[in-house]
Symmetry: C2
Subunit: 565 residues, 2 copies
């Protein structure tokens, strides 16, 4: 499988073109877009030039605002969905963020919602008329799912004649429809889904709309890029090692990695389905924390545990969110945040450090407490996560790459090799699971132990950490995944929020920096504030398992306070 087979490129090219051809002529860019170097930032005024003032108004509202307007009859679902289809089409032409387009289906659905509203005077559900995008792991009727694999074109997850092709829908998609939401496009991802960069042989490289010299992150980079350009008010990514959080941070939006079993993943495609040591989870990505909260509340109201056996019966618990948001004085309570500014292998580059210090100072200004976070080794957690990802020796991903003979992206090949290696045996998998359990238990003990250090007398409420040592990946430059997998290893709830952007005037190179090791040296040597200018910097707030309500409330509190700074 190291050499590539003939034919894969033609199939990939045809698929890419077929998707582009679905963009109505009126929505095509009048001329090829400028190169990333000429025009790094395509957000704001740049993308707005292709839209009408009304389209700008509709697409720049956040998800709860949209639903408020569609539910009151103020805005029609049709005009909202059509505007987002248009903006998504522009976004795709600027950043290659889409995999499947089904604007016609979506607009038809919006019309049905409007008719129902006209007939009943009531919205169809709590997401009435809200356009929702999905990473191309979710199956939507009428279109394919390739998950970035050329070999999946014209199949159902690589198999032909299953009867599911273009008719099967994932459980989450079904629930979004039941809630009145309108699926309208599917977004790009790296083939294998096991990369923090979004690239595949079909749509190519998905760039960061704030700085197209940079990556959108991954593996949910299509969502990151699309939502960041406001081509979608909210969409779903998946996260097995940072795949929601990294693109959310790189693209300057909000995203949540819930604990496994909170949201339904049933019926979505995946790499290594059944790998349940450190499983992938799905989570929404949106322009506001309020959007994430609205989505979690809506999906949980569908009782997904009645339809996905992996989902735990745990409704939205407003009581966990109700304590917030406010300063310590307003709350009459001091919260405590663990401060985790780096991993053990690397230190953050200047913009990430500044973002972290900004939020730390803000927390303290609000009257809350910060304490140093000195948990069981995060390098160990990362090592455990990487063991889980490679447990099958890469058999699954090499099989799917082999279906077409397409080349494996080089960063993925660095990890998975060019062919499969012997898998672990069942007894080794079980031993591994037991080690994982022990690590989780040690971490719980550590978290509990912080009660001795807090003013509240309770263990810390959340942990603040970067998602990477850099603001975003610069194409082909050094990269290190070490800030996000510990959350997956622990199955904790974590949400990302935007903090700042790289500012070459402030985030200058620290000439006195002494690197920790070769990797850290490469990352710091390659940091260039001029190239990276305007790239968003996000941070993650991490809570215990199933603490989604609390984490979103805290993120909303911090974001609101940040906006006032």
């Amino acid at each position: 499988m190291g050499s590539t087979a003939p034919g894969w490129k033609e199939k990939a090219d045809a698929k890419r073109q077929a998707v582009l051809d679905l963009i109505p002529a009126a929505w095509r860019l009048p001329a090829p877009p400028p190169s990333p170097k000429e025009q790094p930032d395509v957000t704001g005024a740049y993308v707005q030039q292709f839209l009408s003032p009304r389209e700008i108004e509709l697409t720049e509202a956040d998800a709860p605002t949209i639903v408020a307007h569609t539910s009151s009859g103020d805005w029609t679902a049709t005009e909202v969905v059509t505007a987002f289809c248009h903006r998504a089409a522009i976004a795709h032409q600027l950043t290659s963020c889409l995999h499947e387009i089904f604007f016609g289906q979506a607009i038809a659905e919006a019309k049905r919602l409007d008719e129902a509203f006209a007939a009943t005077g009531k919205p169809t559900g709590p997401l009435h008329g809200l356009p929702v995008s999905f990473k191309d792991q979710f199956h939507v009727r009428g279109v394919e799912t390739t998950m970035g694999y050329v070999g999946w074109i014209g199949t159902f997850e690589g198999r032909k004649g299953t009867g599911k092709e273009k008719v099967y829908e994932s459980e989450l998609v079904r629930e979004i429809r039941a809630l009145g939401g309108v699926p309208f496009c599917k977004t790009s991802l790296p083939h294998t889904v096991m990369s923090a960069e979004t690239w595949n042989n079909i749509v190519g490289y998905t760039r960061n709309p704030h700085n197209r010299l940079m990556s959108s992150g991954g593996s949910s980079g299509g969502e990151g890029s699309l939502v960041s350009l406001k081509g979608s008010p909210i969409g779903f990514g998946t996260d097995i090692g940072g795949s929601v959080r990294i693109p959310a941070a790189f693209c300057g939006i909000y995203g949540i990695r819930p604990s496994f079993g909170r949201l339904p993943y049933a019926g979505a495609a995946n790499s290594m389905p059944g790998q349940n040591s450190i499983p992938s989870v799905c989570g929404p990505m949106s322009g506001s924390a309020a959007g994430l909260k609205m989505m979690l509340q809506a999906v949980l109201a569908q009782q997904p545990w009645l339809h996905d056996p992996a989902v735990v019966e745990m409704p939205w618990r407003e009581s966990l969110a109700a304590m917030l948001p406010a300063s310590a004085e307003e709350m009459g309570e001091v919260l405590t945040f663990g401060m985790c500014p780096s991993d053990e292998a690397t230190a953050p580059t200047p913009p990430v450090r500044r973002a972290f210090e900004t939020v730390k100072a803000l927390i303290e200004k609000l009257g809350h407490q910060t304490i140093e976070w000195t948990p069981p080794s995060h390098s160990r957690a990362t090592e455990l996560a990487f063991q889980a990802y490679i447990a099958d020796g890469g058999i699954d991903i090499h099989h799917h790459i082999g279906l077409s003979g397409e080349p494996l992206q080089w960063r993925v090949a660095d990890y998975y090799g060019t062919e499969a290696t012997p898998p672990k045996t069942a007894d080794q998998v079980f031993d591994f699971n037991f080690e994982l359990f022990q690590y989780r238990r040690d971490y719980l003990d550590y978290w509990n132990s912080t009660a001795a250090l807090t003013k509240s007398g309770r263990p810390v409420d959340a942990v603040l950490a970067p998602v990477a040592p850099i603001a975003a990946i610069e194409l082909d430059k050094s990269w290190h995944i070490g800030y996000t997998p510990w959350v997956n290893t622990l199955d904790y709830a974590a949400a990302v929020f935007p903090v700042t952007k790289v500012d070459p005037a402030i985030d200058v190179v620290d000439e006195s920096y002494v690197p920790l090791n070769d990797l850290d040296k490469a990352i710091h040597d390659e940091y260039n504030p001029v190239t990276q200018a305007n790239t968003p910097v996000g941070l993650q707030l991490v809570g215990r398992r199933f603490q989604e309500e609390k984490i979103l409330a805290l993120v909303e509190m911090l974001s609101t306070a940040l906006a006032k700074e």
Copy 2:
């Protein structure tokens, strides 16, 4: 490993004798007990002959009654604990149900509780002074855990010099102490824990106190036997395929198999730790449904999710239990019960059939609805469960048997062979997990579909099923595990309750019975109402995942109604 090594028998004999030697002279039987044939039933008047009237009063109260008395200061913890120690000692001499005895430690703890009560006027916790027994997978300070393995004698889970020997405690044991409960003995189990009969080379065969010609069931047969003889008011077993439910049913007591993640298993010994496809769970066994409820409420109040990373943050939800108990008329609501009288491989013998029909008629008499249960194949569920149990090719159990060279019990060897076979590979484990997920999803869909058949318009509330085609295993006779593993495959909540006892006058052999197959023929041919006379017959009530509150409420409702019949 097929041949046995020298020395194991001496070690086993010495260990057995050492435990017997811990029984105070005053509590030894005045003469060797009669043979099982001479005196099959040792419950009731038989065991009472060795106890004082006060001891009988104390030990025949159920767990909530005991706690009510100790919490009001009416009874002292010391007198309660001492009485149960005495009765447990008698029980062990009659049925070989104990593995570890630590009466001295327990009585000392009871004294501390009494002193605290005297000082404060308040109970230490919601289980103040309640004796609690544990299957010999749970570690308790001061004593060993052998899990029935000769090779574990003098070690910590088969390893020496770990520093944990006789000092380490399982999380559940810690919590029971924190609640004011008093661990006082550990109960027998089959080595490997993978058997529905309780037998090992150390304590021998644990017999059914209602009919010592029969098995107590397994793998939590020590608990079943002890609790049934009222040598413990409540204890903990574990269940991976029926190991709480089978002994509870055979011994005529109550037991619950909660969903995985409801109660803390952390720090307990197990076979194949880390096998998380169909994991073992722990659950209480007691003389009343109210005892089970009290125990679940108490443990959940300890927030075990803060100490065991596998436990889900789900407090006791009284709202799920509050609908009950009452008839349909009293409730103003008709419940629906799925009727699942057998598996696909065998039909129940006469006493089990009668028990089932009795409860079915009772449900209908209460005004509730029964419908036929026609779910996805339970044989398929059983096959999936058995695949999980053997995923490692038996490497784990053969390793531990091999530590001493002791012989593997024949029924276990029938399944696991005399040596390990090649384990599954990781990719096969993941494929298996995915199949399991699909089965669970199909079952959810089926369960949801029953809403179309119920008077309530809701899916069925619970499913009634036997735990075996026979009332209990007759030593060395045919046996079939097919009625319980589907619950584990689905990870559903299931509770067992006693219904009746084998009555030779009623449960006569059905001469016209046409067997389904050879196994079914053997089971029915060997059914002998005279030999099996007085053996309890229990049934299980099965609810969806994490529906422990509801299932216990329904079991209490049915048991209360049964008692009035």
